[in-house]
């Protein structure tokens, strides 16, 4: 009984029943499949999170993003500047209480280097309805390479709790045809 000591003093040498053994082998192999699936996707898959990351002060990231926005601003939307950088270039988006800034306009099929960081607390970059979710830290500049494959209006919801205005924190990415 599981509540009493094993009846045999040496239980390690007891034979394991065949059905149990078969399941252990299957379960072990399945574990290997799942493990190598992740490795395989790094080699052959298209969706992997980059680990190009730099330490940066919030002030410096703010300055970089402001410079970028000033240079590429094409219009405003709800008082927020919309930046459209050349196809395939570096673009910046910062998170702060409680907005994603600026709004980005990207071209479909082009690959961008998106620089993400926060200037205050942690935030969560949740691109909807595509459903890409990335954690954003203050002090860390994360460069994510991304290639939009659909056109339209996409929203960036904050999905890391960041205080009482958390649920109003929403940003925008437009994807347009060339």
């Amino acid at each position: 009984m599981a509540l009493t000591p094993p009846e045999a003093k040496i239980w390690w040498n007891e034979k394991v029943e065949r059905g149990e053994l078969v399941w252990i082998v299957i379960a072990f192999l399945w574990g290997l499949v799942m493990f190598f699936m992740m490795v395989y996707w790094h080699l052959e898959g298209q969706q992997n999170l980059s680990n190009e990351v730099y330490r940066i002060s919030p002030e410096k990231f703010l300055a970089k993003t402001e410079k970028f926005t000033e240079q590429y601003k094409v219009r405003e939307e709800a008082g927020i500047p919309v930046a459209k950088a050349p196809a395939g270039s570096d673009v910046y988006m910062l998170a702060r209480l409680w907005e994603w800034w600026p709004i980005l306009e990207l071209e479909k099929g082009q690959t961008y280097r998106v620089h993400l960081s926060s200037v205050d607390w942690q935030h969560g970059f949740s691109l909807q309805p595509v459903n890409v979710n990335i954690q954003v830290h203050p002090g860390l500049e994360h460069v994510v390479t991304i290639t939009p494959t659909q056109t339209g209006e996409f929203s960036v919801v904050c999905n890391e709790f960041c205080g009482v205005g958390h649920h109003t924190m929403i940003g925008r990415i437009h994807v347009v045809d060339k």
């Binding site: 007891e14 399945w30 999170l49 927020i80 830290h137 958390h166």
Partner: protein
């Protein structure tokens, strides 16, 4: 012999007072018994408090009800996480540790005074943190990610609680040492005690991680330290935050084995296999703290893949083994009890009217199908991009911690009441239905949150309509339906949980005293054993054919593989990124 009759026993020259359990003949150290009672009662109180907070959360998430204002929602959500995820569970686990050591090993508890100190520290810490949260300046969620800051007492309370729990773990280890020295058992410790040891070891790593990160964070909140690195905080915090839930896994698996043993007379199919499965937990389960860091910047894919997979899924292997050996042991026992017809007579004729058995089996099934599968899928590095911080995450862990651990602990309570508190369970007609009600409610909570999460809905979010936001966005309308159904499920779970509390507290106050004459009856309906003597034989080494278990395991495995690859399909549809 009257159960109330107790006597002094002198073991190893040290006096301890014991009573003899009429059901098992075990010597029960009265000091251990009092501590088990105190910890179990504290656990149930925090379950009540945390459960009420949980219901408020679900009713606010329900768009048509939207009960609380934003600030209250975040406050209540913080308190809900703390009270049920940490306080209810760890108090109950302390009771399980003392039971699995002192009671099962027929031994006196080591240093009962320290165990009381542990209890008091945990209680003071728990209350202090709750007060800090309820004062309104510590709505930082259970995770309290820096640089968001709570009041110093929030961290101090957690530190006191952790120190208390650590002392409790040491008392458990001390009791193992005493039992061995005083030879209160022969050979190896029982499997259930081994499971409890696994939980204790994981708890020690958990608490150490908590101390490493919470002490500096407390000093930071007092102004003595100027900066805490956000990523380091998160890495170490999850060494506590996730591992604490792994304590639960080890503990509730031990509880499954215990309940199966008491209610149907199940014995482990193989001590070797079951203990090796626990060893896999000891070595690898804690690595899965990485599940929370898969979309973090600044940590390599190598680290992520290795840790998130518990070193090539070796801890998952442990769970998959228990997932077969627990039902397998039940099937073997039931076949010994005489239910040999077809593949499933053993299951059909199981004591489904006994809430201990029903709760245990539901916990096993729900933990495996809902919690286990979703956990592995969620913890796959690339799939996590789809799910991180969505409602899928709480959907997953309500299946593990509530449908798995909480339900298993509730089931155990129906045995602890007659065996330790020596009270018969009141309202047996309602008690019979309690596990089912709670299980259905929690399954709904879990499935509908996972559903909403699959649609992208953020967790910890007060208003998914974004009505106050400068820009607008609409989640799919199905998400609103899911959150409505989540609210209804939460009400059902709350009824089931409330019933549990009424029955438990009512039994303590008004339950009929259990004596040697009625103790077996007090344990609830059991299968009538057709071959009683055969039960004592060891069911090892191919003597039993277990077709029912093989079919259940095959169904489970098929569901697992299909769901796993469906999610890879979703990943492959995402925008390419690298």
């Amino acid at each position: 012999m009257s159960i109330a009759e107790s006597h002094s026993g002198i073991i190893g020259g040290i006096a301890a007072r014991f009573r003899t359990c009429p059901a098992t003949g075990l010597q029960i150290d009265l000091a251990a018994e009092r501590l088990i009672k105190a910890n179990a009662v504290a656990a149930v109180v925090f379950l009540l408090v945390g459960g009420v907070f949980g219901l408020l959360v679900a009713l606010t998430r329900w768009p048509a009800v939207h009960l609380l204002p934003a600030d209250m929602f975040y406050l209540v959500l913080t308190a809900h996480g703390l009270d049920v995820l940490l306080l209810w569970i760890l108090f109950f686990e302390m009771a399980v540790l003392y039971f699995a050591s002192a009671v099962l090993l027929n031994c006196r508890l080591a240093a009962p005074r320290f165990a009381w100190l542990a209890f008091i520290l945990m209680l003071v810490g728990g209350v202090l943190t709750n007060i800090a949260v309820l004062q309104g300046d510590s709505s930082v969620m259970f995770t309290s990610y820096v640089p968001m800051q709570a009041s110093p007492n929030f961290y101090l309370g957690l530190i006191l609680f952790a120190v208390g729990a650590l002392i409790g773990c040491l008392v458990f280890l001390g009791t193992l040492v005493i039992a061995k020295e005083e030879k209160t058992y022969e050979g190896s410790i029982p499997l259930v005690t081994f499971g409890a040891l696994t939980a204790c070891i994981i708890a020690i790593f958990t608490i150490a991680s908590g101390a490493i990160i919470l002490i500096p964070t407390w000093l930071w909140s007092l102004g003595y330290i100027s900066h805490i690195d956000t990523l380091m905080y998160k890495l170490i915090w999850w060494g506590m935050g996730h591992s604490s839930q792994q304590i639960n896994v080890a503990a509730h698996v031990a509880v499954w084995y215990a309940i199966a043993a008491i209610t149907v007379g199940a014995k482990p199919l193989s001590e070797k296999v079951s203990r090796t499965a626990f060893l896999m937990y000891i070595l690898f389960l804690q690595l899965a703290s990485a599940h929370h860091l898969l979309v973090e910047p600044g940590i390599s894919a190598e680290w992520k893949v290795f840790n998130t997979s518990y070193a090539m899924y070796l801890a998952v292997l442990g769970s998959l083994i228990h997932g077969m050996t627990v039902p397998g042991a039940i099937e073997a026992a039931q076949r010994r009890n005489g239910f040999v017809n077809g593949a499933f007579e053993w299951l059909r004729k199981a004591p489904w009217g006994n809430p201990a058995f029903a709760g245990m089996f539901l916990s096993l099934v729900l933990f495996g199908f809902l919690g286990g599968i979703s956990g592995v899928v969620l913890g796959t590095e690339q799939i996590n991009i789809l799910m991180h911080n969505t409602l899928y995450v709480p959907g997953h862990f309500h299946a593990t911690v509530v449908a798995g651990t909480t339900l298993a602990f509730m089931a155990l309570t129906y045995l602890v009441l007659p065996l330790i508190f020596q009270r018969k369970v009141i309202l047996p007609g309602l008690a019979k239905w309690q596990p089912y009600l709670f299980a259905i409610g929690v399954s709904g909570i879990s499935l509908f949150m996972m559903g909403a999460g699959t649609l992208g809905v953020s967790r910890r979010h007060w208003d998914i309509t974004f009505s106050d936001a400068a820009l607008s966005f609409d989640y799919p309308s199905a998400a609103f339906l899911m959150l409505g159904l989540n609210g209804l499920s939460a009400i059902l779970a709350a009824v089931g949980g409330g019933l549990y509390i009424v029955i438990t507290v009512g039994s303590l106050l008004f339950g009929e005293k259990v004596t040697a004459d009625n103790v077996v009856e007090a344990l609830g309906p059991m299968p009538t054993r057709k071959v009683s003597e055969a039960v004592k034989e060891y069911g090892n080494a191919g003597t039993f054919h277990l077709p029912g278990t093989y079919i259940l395991v095959a169904v489970f495995f098929t569901a697992f593989v299909l769901y796993y690859f469906v999610n890879w399909k979703y990943v492959s549809d995402l925008w390419p990124m690298g």
